[in-house]
Amino acid sequence: MTAYLIRRAIQMVGVLVLSAIVSFLLLDLAPGSPTEGLRQQVNTSTRRITEEDIARILASYELDLYTPFRFTRWLVGFPTGPLQLFGKEYFADYAVGCSAAIEAEVVDSAGNFSVRTIGCARYVTLADMVGRRTSNGVMRGDFGLSWGLLRARPVADLVWSRLPWTLQLMGLSYAISLAIAIPLGVYQAVRQYSRFDYVFTFAAFAGSSMPTFFFGILMILFVSILAQRAGLPWLPPGDAVAVRDYFIPVLGTIEPGTAMDRVLHTIMPVSVLVLFNTAFYTRFVRSSMLEVLRQNYVRTARAKGLVERVVILKHALRNALIPFVTVVVYAIPGIFGGAIITESVFNWPGMGRLFIDALGRADYPVSMALIMIGAFLTVVATLLGDVLYTLVDPRIKYG
């Protein structure tokens, strides 16, 4: 088992590095950057950005470095300057970037123009790296500085400001979903083809196929706006906490930041996620239970005269939940990563909304941090799932 875990840990590092390379390159190729549009301000009626200005701005975002060096500085915080060996510097003049490219306007026979870089007028060398701000590298837990959302301040600050809210929302919704879905799925399986089964199968399909944004907007309309207009108790349409007092019939005046305020703000987004997750989990538990209920050992248990409750809970459910373990552990990245759509619809200040904001404002250090956190949690969840298999099913052994 130990050897297996070590092997998997090494594989995890490989997967993480690979996903880091791929996602870094993808974002590198993506259109949009903090410097977009600067060249069009070289000569306008109000602004005259100079080439020196552009070079300085590129340097502040490290966009004057060649991609491999930007990547290694982001990943492991290397290089930070010339190589130092036994008190001597090496490769000080080695070019690691270009702060002023020589660009060529290429025109093809069809008259199409395109711009190509054909050389460099001013290289950035390893010696120029000395004194530049850099992170210690993602691999050492330093996600660097934000480009856009929290300009020039640590990405980690942003992540920590959003993580508690996402954990609250997602943790609560998963817990409630499981609490509902497992007994519901079991009951549906036991009462297969009953009216109850049909109704909840239909509800499960509806819940899993209805987009969360649609259900979310419907809830806001009915439970917030129309309910308030009708003078009924209503729920705040969004946010995690209020910023000033508000009045709700029956409940009275709610002060911002109180437990009641937080609960009221949590109900709608959690409900949307619970509906979606419960629908999915219920169907899974139902089908898993149905398969187990047909097994010989269940029949044997019944033949032994065990009461039905014991047969269902002890013999069938425990075995039916084995494949369910995998499904549940894969929810871990989601619990930390947030629900992008639900958080956006309800203005919930979580990780999902942060990811969307980061992409929208070309804040790639933040995007990359969230991608890497997601990748890390995914590989950890996978490993956890494998380990849990050995605990819940003694037949499985890793060697």
Binding site: G37, S45, N112, R116, I217, P237, D239, V243, P349
Partner: protein, 638 residues
């Protein structure tokens, strides 16, 4: 141990690979001279360019009759109605020149192009584009179809009105092939519009209190390969009279003279029809129905300019909703709409531009103009090495060969000795009692600090246009004298303050930081990361920031030392609501009191707000925005 070694090996391999990959980049070249190559012959691309590109008249659009026909065939009120269903009178948004009709520089009496498809058809017939019996598309004598490519962004707003335009053109026998390209391509630095890669191209310009326009409508503003694609006259329109007039309008400080020159340019523009002005976009703002003191106006982008006068009866807090969260409150590095508004809340707003004019809004007794004596023009003898603004508008050291405008307005190539030039000085008088929210009065040291930081290349600022053109900024505790470099007399001279600010600005030099230093001792390179600057600055505005909950809200409390007295509402909260539906829901349920155009946009949600306003639940303000849509005709082909 083995694992550690393997990890080390993996990292080493990665690092070596990085060096090897980087080595593939061009290196080891000693560059003697930097040059921007305009065209190169490469193996894989066959280059055939004998003459300057974009100098061949467009076979269809170079004919003024076709351009005018397109204008007559365009039902612009229908286009407006298609995107702004909530606007009662679409004609109120119509544009007839490149300046909004309520702007001081707008010229009355220019040639008009009201929707008249019959007149459009007649012009097309006259131009030789006839419609055969039963045909849908006109043809010329050579049998070529009257078909044009129409390029714009893929925004739903533009897809909607472009569909109307396409239909209008089809009714006149003009086939329009629409291309809705990604904005990143259409507005890219080296693609789309900037390379004039279109026949009919639609986009928007943002009008300003000063109309500018020199780079947009002068002959030398035409982007071409030979000038490095400099300029924004994407149409390729060169009308000598208009070009001279737009230059004159931008190089005189006399308001009447400017109006006269802009009138010439607008008349020529309407006559030549190089671009079809369509309509002003609308700016929709919505508020709590009881909000008093809220007075947005065309031309002024920041309705918070008078936030200290806002109040809602019975409420001690006003909540403002914004789409974005500021990246920083250091406005030198963050100029997002929300950041500027947040900074106005705590820092004030010295110069406003209500109704496309300028006013002294706070802190100063008046705007320094030549008329009121606050600004003066003096003739100075300028010697070699002095920083001047040359005839191209660049700030350069005076040297042999540099062409400048002398004091008499003549272009002179400097060849030694001295040259007499005009130099402008602006005298700003501060009103008494301006005090930071910690109780310290503004002093000369605070103003000097703003000048030094804002003009430092290490501060993180992107634009030093004004700093580079400022010879000196001398402050006292009650005044500021800004002297511009010789040759720099911008039309908006009366807004030029220190450190590139609009009007005087300052930082609290005395403020003690958490590490014991005072702000005056902190080098510019640290300012972007300084919490006391980026997150909790103090200033002299009506409010001071007391809390910033990331991802949620910012809270501002009244500044007890505000020089105009206590603001009418004790607390302002700025809330970040990205989704428009959510923002409207919060407005309707009273969770937010003010929503701005950047959040509301002009989509279906506005109709919801409009309905709520009609029902008396909220207040809505629909203003013609400074942004206006138009269709450029590219008069030349590549």
């Amino acid at each position: 141990m083995a694992t550690k070694n393997r990890l080390m090996a993996a990292f080493s391999t990665l690092a070596i690979a990085a060096f090897l990959l980087a080595a593939c980049a061009p290196g080891g070249v000693t560059v003697v001279e930097t040059q921007i190559v305009e065209r190169v012959v490469t193996q894989e691309v066959e280059v055939v360019v004998q003459a300057e590109a974009y100098t061949t008249p467009h076979p269809i659009l170079s004919d003024i009759r076709v351009r005018k026909a397109i204008a007559f065939c365009s039902n612009r009120p229908e286009m407006i109605a298609s995107v702004y269903t909530f606007v009662d009178d679409p004609n109120s948004l119509l544009m007839d020149t490149f300046i909004p009709s309520d702007h001081w520089a707008h010229a009355a009496g220019v040639e008009q192009y009201a929707f008249d498809p019959a007149q459009g058809a007649a012009l097309l017939d006259e131009a030789g584009w006839t419609l055969a019996e039963g045909a849908d598309v006109r043809q010329n004598a050579a049998g070529e179809a009257l078909a044009l490519h129409f390029t714009t962004t893929s925004a739903a707003f533009r897809q909607t009105w472009a569909a109307v335009f396409e239909s209008n053109m089809a009714d006149c026998g003009i086939q329009v092939v629409r291309l809705h390209a990604p904005a990143s391509w259409w507005f890219g630095d080296t693609t789309g519009l900037s390379r004039r890669d279109f026949e009919l191209g639609a986009f928007a310009w943002v009008g300003e209190a000063d109309p500018g326009g020199e780079t947009l409508y002068a002959c030398d503003g035409i982007p071409l390969p030979s000038n490095g694609w400099s300029g924004q006259n994407y149409m390729g329109w060169c009308n000598e009279a208009a070009s001279v007039a737009i230059r004159a309008a931008n190089n005189t400080l006399d308001r009447d003279e400017r109006i006269a020159q802009y009138a010439i340019t607008q008349q020529e523009f309407a006559k030549d029809m190089p671009s079809l002005p369509l309509f002003n976009r609308v700016e929709v703002l919505a508020t709590n129905k009881d909000l008093a003191g809220f007075a947005p106006a065309p031309g002024e982008p920041y309705a918070t300019y008078n936030i200290h006068e806002w109040e809602i009866a019975g409420l001690d807090t006003i909540v403002l909703g914004y789409t974005q969260e500021p990246a920083s409150l250091f406005t030198l590095v963050e100029n997002a709409f929300v950041a500027v508004n947040a900074y106005i809340t705590l820092g004030g707003y010295p110069v406003s531009s209500l109704n496309y004019d300028f006013q002294a809004n706070m802190y100063v007794t008046q705007l320094p103009t030549l008329d009121n004596g606050g600004a003066t023009l003096a003739t100075v003898d300028v010697a070699e090495g002095t920083t001047v603004v040359d005839t191209s508008g660049a700030a350069v050291a005076l040297a042999s060969g540099v062409t400048v405008k002398d004091a008499d307005g003549n272009d002179v190539a400097f060849s030694g000795g001295t040259v007499p030039m005009q130099q402008m000085t602006l005298n700003w008088e501060l009103v008494p009692g301006i005090t930071f929210s910690d109780g310290a009065p503004v002093t000369a040291a605070d103003i000097d600090l703003a000048t030094a930081i804002n003009c430092s290349p290490d501060s993180g600022a992107t634009d030093f246009t004004t700093c580079d053109r400022t010879a000196s900024a001398v402050a006292t505790d009650t005044s500021l004298v800004v002297t511009l470099v010789p040759g720099y007399t911008p039309p908006l001279y009366f807004t030029v303050g220190n450190g590139g600010c609009s009007g005087p600005c300052w930082y609290p030099a005395h403020r003690v930081l958490s590490d014991g230093r005072t702000l005056a001792d902190v080098p510019a390179s640290e300012w972007t990361t300084l919490p006391e600057i980026a997150e909790s600055p103090i200033d002299t505005g009506a409010y001071m920031i007391t809390e910033w909950v990331k991802g949620q809200s910012m809270t501002f409390e009244a500044n007890p030392f505000f020089y105009l007295g206590a603001p009418k509402t004790p607390t302002i909260v700025i809330k970040f609501v990205a989704d428009t539906n959510q923002a409207v829901a919060q407005l309707l349920t009273g969770q937010v009191d003010v929503l701005f155009g950047e959040t509301l946009g002009a989509g279906a949600e506005v109709q919801t707000v409009r309905d709520a306003a009609d029902a008396g639940e909220v207040a809505i303000y629909i203003l013609p925005s400074a942004t206006w849509e138009h269709i450029d005709f590219n008069l030349f082909t590549r």
